[in-house]
Symmetry: D2
Subunit: 338 residues, 4 copies
């Protein structure tokens, strides 16, 4: 960590600041320049609060050199993390497709979709029981009845299920869920993250619409620091100035997360695109860029879907996309799970 | 609402879509163009789900003409809402300053700050008991002990208190809080919003870092639709490409929210700026642009603050800013509360 | 085009506005709603100025239904455009790699790089003679001497050259250049675009850092409307809130441009990434998503480069990336040029 | 400047890099940490190219401590610059309003508008002769005939004129223009900036839609470094994720530019808002935040304007806004020019 002092800093205050850092077991390297003086802090600075240093009258600026996350940091965990979920492996050379409707609607719907996506090659079944909707007047999900229908579909097909949690108060209801999804709007719901750190289920952590990759890593750090090491990142598009698509899939997030962290990275092309016709090209890009999997919305009758119909593939469309995915995963020398 | 059909839409499917809309009590105006056919839906379209219409094979695009919010909409509530909180009026011609530390730390701190900001002219005392922090290694707040210290400071000074809630499971603990703050990261925590809609306390609803004004209005709609009409908006800076400041205060949000809605609008210059020296010019701009109040971070010893010290005014600085605010509120012909 | 009238619009003014539109050979469909009245304009609206319509007192909003570009629009030109440049085909099933240094520095540099990238499989040689630099104190390019060195390298290797123009006043100097590049900062330099519309050289039109895809299409429209149909789009990353990389490569731009337009699309991973280690994953994603080519910065000695060394591959690195590209282009069933 | 070395950097390469810096008259402070080694460069680093340093194999990251601009930097020019234009003072305690139509259309229009805005209190007349338009099918301005009409209006009213240049090739035609405006899209047209650095006219330099404040300062540096010290900044809204307004006026730009630079800052509320009803609140905010002036679009008949009618005030509206401005400028203790 680099602390830049104001040019007119009082010598006694500088010495006092240095003693404060030394009391935190940090060594100080001192550089006296013409316009500014620089303190280099050497040691474990993850616990040094930048804001607090910045509040000091004699400090002009603070720059962090080392990353503020440790458990999620590849520097300290060079090997890829592989998470085993009901026999499916996520991470490293393995590739998984999560498929299913935006929201769980009826038993026949879930039975039909689950059987079909399994047949096409999906490894996991997704479906929303609790739906975060911008408008209070939109369909909000079947709630616990939705969880029940998901578990029935799992029983029928053997597909592990992935579904979104909304609050730490729901954890008991999610006891039989295989992968708990944290939605984009909850990426910095820290009470929820802390609670998830205390359970031992795999967590699919979606990046917020306008959260930096460092913030995503820090949210994973909350879960990991709590003792749960099974975190899977999910990039689902970011919010930019562009208006002709819903969100911009941040393809760079894949190599950046892979370099900075050891955790798996899944891509959700459906939410990024907001339409069906871009799911195939975005999926292809994600596989080529090194993603560990895809999450794709599939519905048996998209135009009657209660949610996100515009971006849901129908069953034959998903079968076709899945056939394309299969060839590409093989070309990359990776092992498709399912 | 305008529905644009694909140029080659099958006539029978068009008729079937029209019947679907008519079943929702909407009148249809039909425009046949050269490259596209347009349906104009007339009636109450707030409950029509754009996504669902878009999922239809024959639909190219959907454009909403009227706003999707009703209770928060000035069109249906032309008069400014004024909220009375322990005798302080918020909204319309009244102007309030909320001041206090980022986080509640100790009893002497709260006593000192509360007495001083009251003396300077603040109408409300703020302080965080539960702190949303990007890093799990940062100070997370005194929690319920912090609420206790806030209430003690209220008892000592008479200042009503404003503090942030993190989850709907905390509502009982917030029973004596005067204004419940929803932080930027929770603006779309819909379970929390629904719970707040069922209580009758004033809610200070902060805009998310990258949420549109329409999304902010829809989050207010969640609370209003639940039966709680006491919502105060708070703009605290948005995330853009600019890196030389922490966030860009969106000054346009004031006139836009005032035009679209009847609810009060407060500005938080401290979080937008991320430093102390910009608090005065941003506060001046907010008053001139028509804000109903300001929320300013004040600490008795910013450089020892456990949180956000860099953006906290000390007590004499706040007194000076408050003197400036007083003159400007008078110039605007508005009535300072406190 | 849809014109939404204010609810209280004076009937005579409405009739007068309708007559104005009819005088422009447009048919009007009239929809009277409860809160708003809508005019649907049918006919060729590309020449209707939205701003001018919006300025009308009785108009609340204007929404364009059809795209404002015609010559660049796939709707009117369903077949892919293929541009032949010295025997290399750009567009449709063909794939080209443009390689070379950020800036032309010396004759030995250009000879070495040109021979090496040709050997590795590049189809075009790039190199900047005129450099747009943020700082006036940075190296600004060799200018016309740089053009001379590029032409010498072309003579030696047969590789057609791509280089950036800064102003319409330079067109004569660019007479022997094979592909004229318009840099991101000049995407809306309309005098330059008009001048390029009057020449018959292929134009590589880079998307501005924060320009929408529609604006990019409109800039192409300037060139096409002037009579030059040889426009190649180049996506090079967009500016967002993310700070851990230089720019976010907008991978969605490929399928969107391919759907909306018939013109070829090239990706520049070097400028997007701002480093060398992301060039390979981004290139892979671009090929998979359907790009027609790549533009990659290559230098014989990146650490001595006068410009952009941090993002330049050295010659062996480029040879390795090119070998990877070759396999992937074949996998996609496309024909590598060069 | 801080150079962060990779943890495994070869000692000989480190020594060689240090010698390179020393050869540029820089002193080196060396900090050896556990995970990284840091070089602090002391001396004049404005000419050190970060990109080039970054390209070095042993360098992990480079951080600039001091600003890369000098002539525009308040650190080296603590006093406010005041620019005298035909007797109007711009900067420091003075306040000027620039008013006029988006585009020059006819002689009667210019005569009417010029006489009226002068009467209302404007200090300068604006009007576009060359118009940068997104669409090639939109009105492109009267060009040199427009300049002639502007000069005639100046002759009639005595108001100095402000008009936009598009290319360095037009400088001779602008010989009688009082203030040359560089539009947002040309903020990084470096050939134009260099040419303007060689003339001695005041330059109104608009910030690009998505350019950082540091980039704006660097563009001013181009002009100043060329010998022309008369630069006036103009903030006109930035491009963000928000869609309900055209651009977000960056009110923070005023205090930031005032702190970092000594040059005057003008605000253009018309282009930021894109409508007329927000011009007054944005103007009020700009005055309160410390702007040195405003540029406002005014037209005698906005609904017939050939350009930007939706955001142009008519003559009585401008007179009313000007009366409000006059009171506020007096309240701030500043001196209205005109």
């Amino acid at each position: 960590m680099i602390v830049i002092l104001k040019s007119n800093a009082d010598e006694r205050l500088v010495q006092s600041l240095i003693r404060e850092f030394e009391a935190q077991d940090l060594k100080i390297h001192f550089s006296q320049g013409v316009n500014s003086t620089i303190l280099g802090l050497v040691g474990d600075t993850a616990h040094v609060d930048e804001e607090k240093v910045l509040a000091n009258d004699i400090v002009e600026d603070v720059r962090r050199i080392s990353e503020p996350y440790k458990a999620a940091n590849r520097r300290f965990h060079p090997m890829d993390t592989v998470i085993d979920i009901c026999g499916r492996k996520v991470g490293a050379g393995y590739f998984s497709v999560i498929a299913g409707p935006c929201s769980v609607e009826t038993q026949p719907q879930m039975e039909t979709v689950a059987a079909s996506v399994k047949e096409s090659g999906a490894a996991f079944l997704r479906g929303g029981a609790f739906k975060p909707r911008t408008s209070p007047y939109s369909f909000q999900g079947l709630e616990n009845e939705g969880l029940r229908l998901l578990l029935a579909a799992k029983k029928a097909t053997g597909l592990p299920i992935v579904t979104e949690i909304m609050s730490e108060s729901q954890l008991d209801d999610f006891a039989d869920v295989d992968v708990i999804q944290v939605g984009a709007r909850n990426m910095q719901n820290f009470r929820l993250l802390k609670a998830l750190g205390r359970c031992d289920k795999p967590i699919l952590l979606k990046r917020g619409l306008a959260n930096t990759i460092e913030e995503l890593l820090m949210s994973a750090e909350y879960i990991l620091a709590g003792g749960n090491s099974k975190v899977i990142f999910c990039e689902r598009g970011i919010r930019t100035f562009e208006t002709c698509i819903r969100n911009n899939l941040d393809i760079s997030a894949i190599p950046v997360l892979k370099k900075q962290s050891h955790l798996p990275v899944i891509i959700d092309p459906s939410h990024a695109a907001g339409n069906t016709w871009m799911i195939e090209p975005l999926s292809r890009a994600a596989i080529a860029a090194g993603a560990d999997g895809l999450m794709i919305e599939v519905h048996n009758n998209p135009k009657a879907a209660l949610c996100d119909g515009a971006q849901s593939l129908d069953l034959p469309q998903f079968a076709a996309v899945m056939a394309d995915i299969r060839k590409r995963v093989a070309f990359e020398g990776r092992e498709l799970q399912g």
